[in-house]
Symmetry: C2
Subunit: 151 residues, 2 copies
């Protein structure tokens, strides 16, 4: 199985555990150095998004705040805050499943800026691939929304 | 003394203590609910910017991740990551001193997106005022750069 697909699958599986339906995996030299799902951290911390949590864990795990050479796999296109965390941590590549528009439906948010535009405005440092297993990720989001409506 | 000036002065004073020359203060109902300077947290955490640290502290201090009604005072225009933290925490107002271009000189970063543009692309939820005591803040940055060159 293609490695990107394998890690995106892992991120989507993590998204099923989240307070919100998002998961992320960070890989360096073919080793998973961190993974996280939304809300896994302190629930009083508004930055407890899957990607930001995964970046913070990865830095602790490898003992460096520089993740050059690493790839972050996310079940959804990272929001502008998480893109910022990824950028400051010097991550080289982002691979994601669903687009930010899908996330806007889940969270009812008006985010009209994606990672490509952010990358363009911050030196184009990061290689970005989106849309891998998007349908699988959206299914998790739809399931999450359905369960929320039941409550 | 105008309250905005008082709190920006406090943020600039904090910026003198930082690993990098940035400081931030969060005020709600005329009470300082958190303050922080760059690098105050875990130095393996790439999110240890003054504003993000201050938001995390504020949420812990008031026992809520919703800071609606609060104002963040920053010695510098928040970067896109910190704007994200501020936005997700639902902070109502940003007041800052120096512009992001000044920060780019300090950090040698190519950040070509500021808080006004980010606000426009995320629902215009936040009131923003910039340029208060900018010169004082830039002086701290210049001093920081001078000391760095000596090392």
């Amino acid at each position: 199985m293609n490695k990107d697909i394998e890690y995106i699958k892992r991120a989507i599986n993590l998204s099923k555990k989240g307070t919100y339906p998002y998961g992320a995996v960070i890989v360096k030299d073919n080793i998973v150095i961190a993974e996280a799902y939304s809300g896994e951290g302190d629930n009083l911390d508004p930055t407890n998004h899957a990607e930001t949590l995964a970046v913070r864990k990865a830095c602790k795990n490898i003992g460096s705040s520089d993740l050059k050479g690493a790839t972050i796999y996310s079940s959804c296109e990272p929001c502008f805050m998480c893109f910022g965390t990824i950028w400051w941590a010097n991550i080289s590549k982002i691979v994601y499943a669903a687009n930010i528009e899908e996330s806007n439906k889940v969270l009812n948010t008006p985010i009209d800026i994606g990672v490509e535009e952010l990358n363009n405005k911050t030196g184009n440092c990061i290689k970005i691939t989106g849309g891998i297993l998007e349908e699988e990720s959206v299914k998790v989001m739809e399931e999450w929304l359905k369960n929320k409506e039941k409550i």
